[in-house]
Each structure stands twice: as C-alpha cells, then as structure tokens.
C-alpha cells in the first residue's frame, strides 16, 4: 500500500509543479521534458538489462515502434477533426500512447521469442539487429491517407508537439512504480533469479523462458510509451532518431547508474542528460566521455556507480545510524 501512496503523492507533486512550468523558458523546459523521457526509457531498459540480466541493445527499436504508432494515431485523429486539446486531447493522446506501447510490446514479444536461446553477446547483437531492421522497415514506409503524409520514410514524419511536463513525469512515475513493484513482488523474484543464475533458477522451477519474454514485453511496452512521448515532444521525427546509437545512450545510463538499481538509473539519467546538454556544442567530446566512462567503469567498478549492493549499504547505514554511538568492539584489540 505504501508504494501506491507514494505514486499518488508523486503524481500530486508533478501536477503541482506543472503550474510552475510557465515560469521556465521553453528551451530549458524542453530539456527537462527530455530528462523525464530518458528516465522512463532507462528504468524500463533496466528491467531487461539490469533485473533480468538480458543485455539488450535494441531499446530504440521499441521506442521507434511506439513513436511512429502514436504519431500515426494523433495525426489521424487531428486530421479527422478530433480536437487534440483539452479533455479530448488528453483522451486521444493517452489512447495513442497506449497503442504505441502495445505495439512495441508485441515487437518485444517478437524479439524475445527467437532470442531465448541466446545469451550475453549474441543477444546483444541480435537485439541490435532487430533495432536496425525496424529502422530500415520504417525508412521504407511512406503512405498517404486522404492527402496527409504518414511515416514519410527517410524524409521523416511531422508530429503534433503535445507532450507536456505533466505527461512525461506522470508516465515516468508510473514506469518507476510498475518496474519497482514488479521486481519486488514475490512473482518478480523470478527476474532476479534468471539474472543471478539461470541454471539454478531453472532447477528451482522458475520458468526462465517465460520470465525473459515477460521482461522484454514489459520493457518494450514502456519503451513504446516513452517513444510516443519523445515523438510528440519534437515537431518532426525521422528513422535516424532511432538508430542503435540511441539504444546505446540508454544503455550507458543503465550501466552508469548500476544495473538493477532504479534510484541509480534515475540519477544517471538526470546526470548524463545534463552532461550531454553541457557538451552540446562539441558532440564528439560527449561520446568520447561516454565511452571512456564505460571502459573505466567496467575496469574499476563494474556494478555501476550506484549498484544494488551499494544502495543496500547506504540504506542500512541510514537505518543503523539511529543508534547514538558507534558500537565498540566487545574485546579490545590487542596492541603492539
């Protein structure tokens, strides 16, 4: 019950904060919205990569499916006289996002099933391959309905910019809520078991196959919703927004934050997105810093900056910190 309360509280705070957004200039607001989208994407990828231990490099592919699906829906609705503002706008956008998420989840199912026999590096390359296949397919789609361009192949697709601060952060909160509750439930322990030792998990009666596919489906659903938000925060999307380099951006966030640590990943999303904003004028440096971060992190601290073990230690310290004085050892150490 505590987590439901936290979710409602978070949504209330977000709605409260949304009244302050007119005070921020548009550019900064756009960046804040982008951070929120990255949080959703990274937290959902963390379910696949961090909690279930299936290294996926295809998150941008799921994003693309969600982005294009929801953009088609909103464009269709607005062209056919459905007001995309006010209450009807909220309903229309919600329907579009959910549809995008559902189609992305189907794509996740499609990736999950053939990937079951693969692990580690093979899985990484196959998901990357799926990402590229989805992108190439989109690049080849271009059609008109009643004189309006849809998808538009390599030229890109004009999208209504209707993503707002409130939408993005409420969805980020829901994503965090779902992923956290899922992995902390009795049922969700299966994900962690698959990650920690697949053979042992199977011996204990965990259906590892089903858990892997579920991780992909749930992760892809939220990636699709995140993709929908991303599409509607831009005026224009092209297939090049969803190459595997975008996937790598999200992967870097998950790794830096610590695979399997939601708090770490959220912090990493904020820090890295801000960092890349600061390095906007020199994009090469951004990627060089990212790549060096990856290499150095893997050599010195493979669990990420705030991996699950670190988080647990911090929590424990806070809890035991209440006891007034540090405990003295019962037997004094022998000196000399």
């Amino acid at each position: 019950m505590k987590s439901y309360f936290a979710l409602i509280l978070a949504i209330a705070v977000i709605i409260g904060a949304s009244f302050l957004t007119p005070m921020i200039n548009d550019y900064v607001l756009g960046r804040i919205i982008y951070v929120g989208i990255m949080i959703s994407l990274a937290v959902s990828l963390n379910l696949i990569n961090g909690f279930t231990g299936q290294f996926s490099l295809g998150h941008a592919g799921f994003m693309a499916v969600g982005a294009y699906t929801s953009a088609i829906v909103t464009t269709y609705l607005s062209v056919h006289g459905f007001a995309m503002a006010g209450f009807t706008g909220i309903v229309g956008f919600a329907v579009a996002l959910i549809l995008g998420g559902v189609l992305a989840a189907l794509a996740g199912l499609g990736v999950g099933i053939p990937s079951l026999r693969l692990r580690g590096d093979y899985l990484a390359i196959v998901t990357l391959g799926f990402n590229e296949i989805i992108r190439v397919i989109i690049q080849n789609l271009d059609f008109k309905i009643d004189g309006t361009d849809y998808i538009g192949g390599a030229r890109g697709f004009s999208v209504l910019p209707i993503t707002t601060f409130t939408w993005v952060f409420i969805i980020a909160a829901i994503t965090i809520f779902c992923v956290e509750n899922l992995v902390n439930s009795t049922y969700g322990r299966g994900f962690l078991a698959v990650r920690d030792d697949e053979v042992a998990a199977e011996a204990m009666g965990v259906d590892t196959t089903k858990f892997k596919v579920r991780a992909f489906v749930v992760g892809a659903f939220f990636a699709g919703v995140g993709g929908g938000l991303f599409a509607h925060s831009n005026f224009h999307i092209t297939p090049l927004d969803f190459t595997f380099l975008t996937s790598i951006d999200i992967v870097v966030i998950v790794i830096l934050g610590g695979m399997g640590s939601t708090v770490g990943v959220i912090l990493a999303a904020v820090v890295l997105t801000t960092l890349s904003e600061l390095l906007r004028s020199v994009p090469e440096y951004r990627m060089i810093i990212y790549s060096l971060l990856l290499i150095i992190l893997m050599i010195t601290r493979p669990q990420g900056l705030l991996g699950p073990a670190t988080m647990e230690r911090l929590m424990r310290r806070r809890r035991t910190g209440d006891q007034a004085t540090p405990q003295k050892p019962l037997i004094a150490p022998v000196e000399g």
């Binding site: 231990g53 290294f55 053939p114 026999r117 693969l118 580690g120 590096d121 093979y122 990484a124 390359i125 196959v126 990357l128 391959g129 799926f130 590229e132 296949i133 190439v136 397919i137 690049q139 080849n140 053979v199 790598i248 992967v251 790794i255 090469e284 440096y285 990627m287 060089i288 990212y290 790549s291 060096l292 971060l293 990856l294 290499i295 893997m298 050599i299 493979p302």
Partner: protein, 301 residues
C-alpha cells in the same frame, strides 16, 4: 548477363567481409567474446591507408605506383596490429577473469571511443580515398567487366587468408593458438603463455582488418569515422554464419554475406540492403546457432 557481373561484385565485397570476419572469429576462438571494436580497427585501417598514401609514402613514391601501394598496405596493417594489441592490453586484459557482460560493455566502450575520437581527429566529413591501384578494366566484354581493383581485392584477400591458414596450421604459435582456443586451462598447464597467444591473435586479426580497410577504401573510395560500424557488424554476422571460432567458416560466411547483399542490392528490395545481414543472423541463430561449419558446444554446469 547481369548475373555474372553481380557475382564478381559480390565476391569482391565478400572477400573484404571475410577479412574482417577472420579477426572476429580468431579473437572469439581464444577469448570467447565478441570484439565489438573490430569494425573500428577496420576504419582506422582505412584512415591510415589514406594518410600513408596521400602524405607519408607520397614523399618517396607517387600514388598508385607499386612500391607505394605495397607500403600503404604494410603500414596500415602494422599500425592496426599495434592498435589491436594496445586495445587488448589496456582494456581487455584487466578484465580477463570477469563476467562476459563486463567485457562486452568494455568492447562497446572501446568501439565508441575509436569512432568518436576518429570524428574528433579526422573530422566527421567523408574523405575521398586515393586511387592507390590504377583502375583499368582487365576483362571487358558486353556482359562483364572485371577491373584491376576487383582483381586485387579478391586475390590479395585470398593470399592473406592462405597465409593465415599457414600460420595457424603450420607454425608453433599457430598450434598454441589452436590449443588455447580448444582448452585454455589445459593449454596453460602445458606451458603455453596464454597472454602472449592472445596478444598475437589480436595482432593478426587487427592486421587483417587493416588490410580490409585499405581494400574497402580502394573499392568504395569514400571513408568516414563511422564507416566501420556496418561492415563490422556484417562481418560479425559472417563469422557467426560460418560458425564462430572457425577460420574457414569465417571466409565462407563473408563470401555468402557479400553475395547475398550484392544480389539484394540489384533487386527492387535494394533499400533493405542493410537489414538483410541481420535477418540472416537471426535466422541462423534460431535454426543453426553453431553456424554452417561450426561444431555444437555443450554447456556444462
């Protein structure tokens, strides 16, 4: 006779993929991990070839003359070998006993590092690769044209592959390589210096990638820092197709990928060209994960 011409084009593209795929497969053989950065070593090979041909060697021999061409290849192979060994020493060696995922992420990091350092140093704009092999048609009929570049690409790849086979099968270090790939622990107990063998594997694999880079530049004369990504991934698919860890398999896989890609480019589905390799990868991993020539590995608990 469009078919014959496509066949020649496909074989020459496949030969380049095969050269890169050999590096993937050899490194996988000894270390059991995919060196993501291999495609970028290939890119560096192209750039070294570019600078060697246009400035370093150009002081002594005119571009396109035989000594210049030979020197360009040798310099590019040597520098790539050094780069490969350095990458292994700095990034992969500290991680040798770590989980595979850690090494994989490091490899992605190295790959991104090479790509974007390349953009910084060489600039992101494409450059025209110099004509280091003067291109004339050798066979020229109504139906088919084979020019010098294609001939050199195919024959040089063939020579390098035979040389590699000779090294692996006939020399002492080659035997050690096979022993390490068969069973690392047992090899080390027999007194084989594992680190030395791994370094040697990286040197050979990267040198082949360097040669591949120069050949690619000669055949498709526009090079840029991100050019290594797609050929690298396709060569990886070739290695998996042939059976990863298997040297003749990599050559066969490269040839198949090159041919399929060329034939797809010639049809109406040409825009799907870049997706075809991945579709092959997914199909092969689902139906025959050990590849065409690979042997099935049993996982022991």
């Amino acid at each position: 006779m469009q078919f014959l011409q496509q066949l020649i084009n496909g074989v020459s593209l496949g030969a380049i993929y095969a050269l890169i795929a050999l590096g993937y497969t050899m490194i996988y053989g000894v270390l059991r991990f995919i060196n993501f950065a291999h495609g970028d070593v290939f890119m560096v090979g192209s750039y070294v070839g570019y600078f060697a041909a246009t400035s370093w060697v150009a002081h002594f021999f005119p571009v396109g003359s035989l000594p210049s061409t030979i020197l360009v290849f040798l310099i590019s192979m040597a520098l790539c070998a050094a780069l490969g060994a350095t990458i292994e020493f700095l990034a992969y060696r500290p991680l040798r006993s770590r989980p595979k995922l850690t090494v994989l992420i490091t490899a992605i990091g190295v790959s991104l590092f090479l790509e974007y350092t390349g953009q910084l140093v060489f600039s992101a704009n494409p450059r025209g690769f110099p004509a280091i092999i003067s291109n004339r048609p050798i066979i020229h009929t109504a139906s088919i044209t084979i020019d010098t570049v294609e001939l050199v690409v195919i024959s040089l790849s063939l020579v390098l592959m035979l040389l590699l086979r000779l090294i692996v099968m006939r020399t002492k270090i080659g035997t050690a390589m096979r022993a390490v790939s068969f069973n690392q622990q047992a090899a080390s107990l027999m007194g084989i210096n594992i680190s030395k063998v791994i370094t040697f594997t990286f040197i050979i694999g990267s040198a082949l990638a360097g040669a591949g880079g120069v050949l690619y530049g000669t055949e498709y004369p526009s090079i840029e820092p991100l050019m290594g990504i797609l050929p690298g991934l396709k060569a990886f698919v070739a290695a998996v197709l042939g059976g990863i860890g298997n040297i003749p398999g990599a050559a066969l896989g490269g040839l198949i990928i090159g041919l399929v890609e060329t034939f797809v480019s010639g049809t109406a589905a040409s825009t799907y060209r870049d997706a075809i390799a991945f579709a092959i990868l997914i199909a092969i991993l689902v139906f025959r994960p050990s590849g065409l020539l690979g042997k099935r590995e049993i996982e022991k608990v």
